[in-house]
Amino acid sequence: MTNGFFGSVDEVAERLAATGYLASPAIATTVFLADRLGKPLLVEGPAGVGKTQLAKAVTEATGARLVRLQCYEGVDESRALYEWNHAKQLLRITAGRGESWDETRTDIFSEEFLLARPLLTAIRSEEPTVLLVDETDKADVEVEGLLLEVLGDFQVTVPELGTLTAARRPFTVLTSNASRELSEALRRRCLFLHIGFPEEELERRIVTLKVPGLDAALAASVVRTVGALRAMDLRKVPSVSETIDWARTLLALGAERLDERVVRETLGVLLKHQDDIVRAGAKLDLDAV
């Protein structure tokens, strides 16, 4: 029933690291459990900490196939699950002029005319699959009901065909930015993982990995400065992807170490609101120059 992708927590961490995703102990443990218990994994956290990236890293580490459902306001059953290929059905009816209605009817509601959307695709997949339901919080509440059925038993009922049960459970990752509160029922069916900002040491390793060529001492200063910014009361604190962007910027500028001028000129890479930049500048004593 379960995939059995991974043998131990350490193995998760190693194999994810091999794809370039450095997992914290919390992430490695939870991924291992989702695999072992065969439960969907609900990942929450601020933007830019690597929620979607986690699903991609698992896909790459396991050699599975990635099926992605991008949620948005108005995504519905026919976008998420399946719909009938009406055009093809019409062609079929026209082509079979000679036969009786009963024959045509049984024929046009067969699998040949079924258009599988991401959820059904993942369930019917014979090969190992990672199902990514991205930005679940953007979808309407009705879609959550749909997910409950699909993720609870990993089966889908098509009225004309009967119940389709997963041959093997896809490794399922749901991501959410918490812009809408997900229902308690959905949370109950999932393992919960909150990815926050990484520990200083881990973030330093991430930066060194993603921006090779950056001086180690500079990388350490970068991470410390970002850590200090996160401790401030800002409208939007910088995330890991912004730390990496900043490191890349500094590398491109040829900066060898941080000083007031470089920080002041590049703060816009980290902070996206003018009042945040002003506030951070004051806290970091940048006006003193």
Binding site: L33, K39, R188, T225, A228
Partner: protein, 465 residues
């Protein structure tokens, strides 16, 4: 197993610990079903018992439904799955002497400088063992983190840690100006370790379940507004934006549903003419998409200031849900603070001080006087009220023996569409002492609103569509 029942293994096995942990979490308001407890057991089995942090993450993944529950979970986990186990029968030790205190402080400073977390854990345990014990007889002795910290005073180690950190790195670096803040955070982390250790030792003596119920503070949204300390209010402020977002989606959904409206009989009949009088298609009356106007009247005097500020920030974060928001603060005089709130949206912490500094809220004395304040409001700002206005009054209705004067509130209730009074005191206290809550409650709807969770519920329910 043992005939004399000295140490029955089953009552303290992993299953008992797990169910104890779940029960303690449920006491703190976590909704955990039996299925999730079973999952937690399976998860523990899957990760094994060798690595404590993995056990913590495994339980968190299966038992928690949101990040806000995490601090409470961590504290309860530390009680039920402690890092070290001491002999529960061990008496409080002789207090350590001055020389060992100085030695310990040096070692703590060194550990903070290199950031060795495992060593800091051990040092915290040593500190509580050496300096946290009090009393001598059974029943009167115990362990105190307060006593440990007041003797250890780790916050005074800042200079030493800074010296150790800057000694090795040659030229000064830009990031070094962040050093003090980093060290302060590390020291606060150490203080938390000491608190955890003291709780664990007390739990060894008195039983985990009892300590888990009493000594672990609940999630921020359940903290009583009137009892919240400064730190808890800060934590509460961080929940404003998520709470506002949640409310905004709820309000938007309600508005969408309500926009469909009810059956318009006249137009339905008119439309049925084409089908021979059979109303095939009912016509729905469409509502005008008007948004409500909101007036907040906040008592910002000392006792209820935290509550009022939190609510003001919440309403500010929700501002796009209303066509207009006006906020008035009062102690015994009223002043409009809408402008202050808009400008200070990014700085909720300083809001209270700014309001007190920039608005004229007090007359001859500094105590709240509802009668005078409401009277002045009606006199000066009556234009804020209209048939589309919903008024929220925030306050405990304690008048300090002044004349409550119900007439102005009656006027407000007449001119506004609805008036809701949110009272941070529990209902049992209304009418006691100088509280005139029952008097005002006769005129307007008064709701007890003691914590952020309740406030969220009320705002979601009471706001008109």
């Amino acid at each position: 197993m043992n005939a004399d029942g000295a140490a029955p293994a089953a009552s303290d096995g992993p299953v008992a610990r797990l169910t104890g942990l779940v029960a303690a979490l449920r006491d703190h308001g976590f909704g955990i079903g039996t299925g999730e407890t079973v999952d937690a057991g399976l998860a523990l089995e899957a990760v094994g018992f060798a690595d404590r942090e993995r056990m913590r993450e495994a339980l968190a993944a299966t038992l928690l439904h949101g990040e806000r529950q995490r601090p409470v979970f961590d504290r309860v986990f530390d009680l039920y799955f402690p890092a070290l186990v001491t002999d529960p029968g061990q008496p409080a030790q002789e207090p350590g002497d001055a020389a060992s205190l100085a030695g310990l402080r040096t070692r703590i400073a060194e550990a903070l400088a290199v950031g060795d977390t495992a060593l800091l854990d051990r040092l915290a345990a040593e500190a509580v063992a050496g300096f946290g014990g009090y009393g001598s007889g059974p029943g009167t002795d115990g362990w105190s983190s307060y006593q440990t910290l007041s003797r250890l005073r780790p916050e005074t180690l800042l200079a030493r840690v800074r010296a150790a950190r800057t000694a090795d790195g040659g030229e000064p670096d830009f990031a070094d100006r962040l050093l003090d803040d980093e060290i302060r955070r590390a020291i606060e982390g150490f203080r938390e370790r000491v608190r955890t250790e003291a709780r664990r030792r007390v739990a060894d003596r008195q039983g985990r379940d009892e300590v888990a119920r009493r000594a672990v503070a609940g999630t921020a949204d359940r903290v009583d507004f009137l009892l919240a300390g400064r730190e808890q209010l800060d934590e509460l402020r961080r929940t404003v934006r998520p709470l506002a977002r949640k409310l905004a989606t709820r309000l938007a959904a309600r508005r969408r549903r309500a926009a469909r409206g009810e059956i318009d009989l006249r137009r339905t009949l008119r439309a049925s003419l084409s089908t021979g009088g059979v109303p095939v298609r009912p016509v729905l009356r469409r509502r005008r998409p008007g948004r409500p106007e909101l007036v907040l009247l906040c008592d910002v005097s000392g006792s209820v200031a935290g509550f009022a500020q939190f609510t003001m920030s919440l309403v500010q974060a929700l501002h796009d849900q209303f066509s207009r928001v006006r906020v008035f603060a009062f102690v015994n005089r009223v002043d409009e603070v809408t402008g202050l709130l808009a400008r200070g949206a990014a700085d909720p912490a300083g809001l209270g001080e700014r309001i007190l500094a920039e608005a004229r809220l007090t007359g001859w004395h500094g105590q709240s006087d509802y009668g005078t304040a409401l009277d002045e409001f009606v006199e000066r700002y009556a234009d804020a009220l209209g048939p589309r206005t919903v008024v929220f009054v925030l306050g405990d209705a304690r008048t300090n023996q002044a004349d409550p004067r119900t007439e102005p509130l009656r006027l407000i209730a007449e001119r506004a569409r609805r008036v809701h009074w949110l009272n941070p005191e529990q209902q049992a206290l209304w009418g006691t002492g100088d509280s005139v809550a029952p008097l005002y409650a006769e005129l307007v709807d008064m709701w007890p609103c003691r914590n952020a969770r309740r406030l969220g519920e009320l705002v979601g329910r009471l706001l008109p569509v």
